[in-house]
């Protein structure tokens, strides 16, 4: 293969220049997107990118550099830049080695021909079809916005220890937003779906959700300031889990920026709660055979019956503690490896039907989306976010929308008291979870 040959050649050149170890990460991707804005097609975007990121260990220090040009001169310059950065960084106190050769698991459904072959024309036709299905759904519906994108990605990792990893994957994304207007008041909602296979996206269902949830908000009530039972929709759970992913990343733990620091083996959340990181999930949106540094993927319990089992490690953070990487290196062409979870599966010891869960709430709120979760204090786990879309729960069903309120809590405290969870799991991006019933402070 042309690319593998080139990468092995890069390894040789860098070694000749004095690097004690070399790692080359290469990626090539193509992306296509089309959208509809205010009921009309708007933009199509094509992008292709190819490049290599070269990391070296030189004089005990790590350095990396990248180039999007694969000609000899550019590559030569990039190797030299990586070496010069390693010199500036100096001997690293922890980092010793890139990944050793290992056997990679097979993961089903990472690549879909349907996604690779779809054209912008097809995507546009599909968008128009869905638009026409809903545009006359309700006179209050003033604007439909859709966004559809597909990408195909090839990744290679080669290093001087003998790692030779290759993978290809596809991703398809569809999002719908509906804006409604009644008597000068606007209300909106959205939904999205991500799949490996373009044809598995149920555009009609996603659009229908956006439209129906938007219309639901025509009837609104004000909230009181009080502590209430709250049913969290998978969308809201996904937003709040950003706090967990930050805190469970070994780098933040080691740098004392995490409320989970020093808590391995301790009960940190409700004992009913188990959280699994599963990179091997067939067709999972974050599934992978190996991570960004060529470490084989494996399934891992992060939280088991409320007890913190492990942090997420890449090679650097693992070697800092003299342990093995858990295979959670994330990688882009331009920067240094980071840490990110794969597919996250949320399980509760007791799960019940969603309608039973709602029936349990005599006075409470259903929170579909929150606004501003990214502003949470990731160090302490405290959050105070606005309700994007929330509904009163009335007789096990969603009642009028809660007009404008805030919800606050501390991540560890909130998830230490999970009253109940629903059986029906929903896949939102790389999160697989049911609904969770917790208690939260509402400010109205």
């Amino acid at each position: 293969m042309f690319m593998l040959d080139l990468l092995n050649k890069i390894v040789k050149i860098a070694e000749k220049k004095g690097a004690s170890q070399v790692e080359v990460f290469a990626a090539s991707s193509t992306r296509k997107s089309a959208n509809i804005e205010k009921n009309e097609p708007k933009y199509s975007v094509l992008s292709r990118e190819q490049g290599v990121n070269i990391r070296v260990i030189y004089g005990g220090g790590i350095g990396s550099a990248y180039t999007l040009r694969l000609d000899e001169k550019s590559i030569e310059k990039t190797i030299e830049k990586a070496i010069s950065i390693a010199k500036v960084r100096g001997k690293d106190p922890y980092f010793k080695s890139f990944a050793s050769p290992q056997k990679y698991p097979e993961v089903e459904g990472l690549f879909s021909k349907n996604t690779a072959e779809v054209t912008v024309d097809d995507m546009l036709k599909d968008l128009i079809e869905v638009r026409d299905m809903y545009i006359k759904y309700d006179p209050r519906l003033s604007s439909l916005d859709f966004y559809s994108s597909v990408s195909v990605r090839e990744t290679y990792i080669v290093n001087s220890l003998g790692v030779e990893a290759y993978g290809r994957s596809t991703s398809a994304y569809f999002a719908a937003e509906a804006i409604c207007e009644e008597k000068g008041i606007m209300f909106s909602s959205y939904d999205y779906q991500v799949e490996r296979d373009y044809k598995k996206i149920n555009m009609s269902k996603v659009a229908k959700n956006a439209v129906e949830f938007a219309l639901r908000q025509a009837r609104g009530v004000k909230a009181e300031t009080e502590k209430l039972p709250v049913v969290l929709d998978p969308l809201a759970i996904g937003s709040l889990f950003f706090i967990l992913f930050y805190a469970i990343s070994a780098n933040n733990v080691q740098e004392k920026r995490s409320f989970l620091a020093g808590k391995i083996g301790e009960k940190v959340f409700d004992e009913k709660l188990t959280i699994i990181d599963d990179p091997l999930l067939p067709e999972g949106n974050a599934s992978r055979k190996f991570d960004g540094e060529g470490v084989a993927s494996r399934k891992l319990a992060l939280i088991e019956n409320g007890v913190l089992k492990t942090y997420l490690y890449n090679l650097y953070t693992a070697q800092r503690e003299g342990r093995e990487s858990t295979g959670h290196a994330s990688r882009g062409l331009r920067g240094e490896p980071g840490i990110s979870p794969s597919n996250i599966i949320v399980q509760l010891a007791e799960e019940k039907k969603l309608e039973e869960l709602l029936a349990e709430v005599t006075k409470g709120i259903y929170v579909r989306t929150v606004i501003g979760a990214h502003t949470a204090n990731t160090v302490t786990g405290d959050f105070s976010v606005a309700l994007g879309e929330a509904y009163l729960i009335e007789k096990s069903e969603l009642g009028p929308a809660v007009k404008q309120a805030m919800v606050s809590g501390n991540f560890a405290e909130v998830f230490s008291n999970i009253i109940a969870a629903s059986k029906e799991k929903v896949k939102k991006g790389s999160l697989l979870t049911g609904h969770l019933l917790v208690e939260l402070m509402i400010s109205g």
Partner: protein
């Protein structure tokens, strides 16, 4: 020559049936050094060039980008893009129009005194190390001090089929410090950035000792913070938070493309009174050396200072050529692209509320029970509903006209227009701070600021009743 390539793209695009072609080139140099507890967390040097091209055919846009400047490859993707635009146009009743702007051929190069390219990487490393060490020395309770130094030298050329040829160069340097304090099982944290559209002459002038002390002190203060009250209170926002509020809650709703898409609460309100008479809002890319500075936007249009609100009355929107044509407004140079890989969209520059004539002390002295909110980790807005959320990094309780104790992680939320009408005092003190604004998957440097604002009866989200 790159210019020749851009002109060739434009020519070929027209030949292939495009009505309008805009070819942009970017040559970006950037370094980022991050030091955490005196250990180098990362050093990344970016040197990248590429082109981003928008074509308009059959009344619809298509965009592509390429890191390769090889003509054969560009030609293929140009053809494909024009084909896509034509197909999009077939489905599109409402064709894209662009406002007429007299074309210019100019060079607007803001050359730094000490260019990021000329400053040695070793110097950047040592600077971060020195500040990091100092922060930890300042207080033993600091368990983490992180210093991030980022610089940019951003050269762009915009070449269009209607005669624009605009070359811009903007340097940017930003230093962010963050500290985590720990004592008796409690954590406190604080982060602050200082930046400008200058080279290292900016860093030379910064009072680093004072900067480090401020960040450390605030992290330590937050150790003793108590849960904040929840409910409706009188609130005073500091200039940093005022800036984030006006940017998030209001500025985004003034973006012409959002207005055009029917996604703004302000869409039919030009000329109407939308807030207190004390509120005047500007978006000003021309502020000298400011973080959100640019002289020409990415469509090649001269950037203008915009008065968005004059004494409570909505005066204008921020536009690109498309929104200006459709909304029948003046093109005011608000189109920005994160880089060559993204198309220009309508963005803010430096957005701020103009200062008033109150002193901060006067404003506090009249508050019986309320909250002072300072700094922000950011916020989010729903421009269609007109609701916003933003978070304060620091908060203090105000009781009987005095600031009494620190409060933990507090956020504000509300209906933008309701809040703007509830502003009852605006201070003389005024400042602008650097930030990154995200929209449509693109991040651009944006300054936000203003005076202290006093707002009555606003929802504060704390964890206590």
């Amino acid at each position: 020559m790159v210019e020749d390539l851009l002109e060739k793209i434009v020519e070929e695009g027209l030949k292939l049936g495009a009505e309008f072609v805009e070819a942009r080139y970017q040559d970006l140099y950037s370094t980022s050094v991050i030091v955490s507890n005196e250990r180098i967390e990362s050093i990344v040097v970016r040197k990248e060039e590429g082109i981003g091209v928008r074509v308009l055919a059959n009344g619809a846009f298509a965009f592509f980008s390429s890191a390769t400047l090889e003509w054969d490859k560009i030609k293929d993707i140009l053809e494909e893009s024009i084909r896509s635009a034509k197909v999009t146009g077939e489905y599109k009743k409402d064709k894209v129009e662009l406002a007429e702007v007299e074309s210019v051929k100019v060079e607007a190069l803001k050359k730094p005194l000490k260019s990021p390219i000329d400053v040695e990487l070793e110097y950047k490393r040592d600077l971060c190390m020195k500040i990091c060490k100092r922060m930890r020395e300042l207080d033993k309770r600091i368990v983490n001090a992180t210093v991030a130094l980022r610089d940019y030298l951003d050269y762009r050329i915009t070449c269009t089929s209607d005669g624009f040829l605009v070359k811009t160069l903007i340097p940017r340097t930003v230093l962010s410090l963050s500290a985590v304090a720990f004592e008796a099982g409690k954590l406190g944290s604080y982060r602050r950035g200082e930046g400008a559209s200058l080279g290292y002459e900016y860093i030379d002038k910064l009072d680093l000792e004072k900067f480090a002390k401020t960040v450390v002190e605030k992290a330590v203060t937050m150790l003793s913070a108590e849960p904040a009250p929840s409910g409706r209170f009188t609130v005073i926002t500091d200039p940093d938070l005022t800036g984030v509020f006006i940017h998030e809650a209001f500025g985004h709703a003034c973006e012409g493309d959002t207005v055009l898409a029917g996604g703004s609460i302000l869409k039919d309100k030009l000329g109407e009174k939308i807030g207190s008479e004390l509120v005047t809002v500007y978006d000003d890319p021309t502020l000298k050396d400011s973080w959100g500075y640019f002289e020409y936007d990415d469509e090649g249009v001269k950037a203008k200072k915009k008065i968005l609100v004059d004494k409570g009355v909505l005066m204008s929107f921020i536009t690109n050529r498309e929104a200006a044509a459709k909304l029948n407004l003046e093109p005011n140079g608000g189109a920005r692209a994160q880089d060559y890989m993204h198309p220009p969209i309508v963005r803010m520059s430096n957005t701020y509320i103009a200062p008033g004539d109150w002193s901060f002390e006067e404003m506090v002295s009249e508050v019986k029970y309320g909250v002072l909110l300072c700094g922000s980790r950011g916020g989010q807005v729903n421009t269609a509903k007109g609701t916003f959320q933003f978070n304060a990094q620091e908060a203090y309780l105000i009781e009987k006209g005095e600031i009494t104790k620190p409060l933990k992680d507090v956020s504000l939320s509300g209906f933008t227009l309701e809040v703007l009408s509830k502003v009852d005092a605006v201070s003389k003190d005024f400042s602008i701070r650097p930030g990154t604004c995200g929209k449509g998957g693109q991040g651009v440097p944006a300054g936000t600021g203003g005076p202290y604002l006093r707002i009555h009866d606003i929802v504060v989200g704390g964890r206590k009743r």
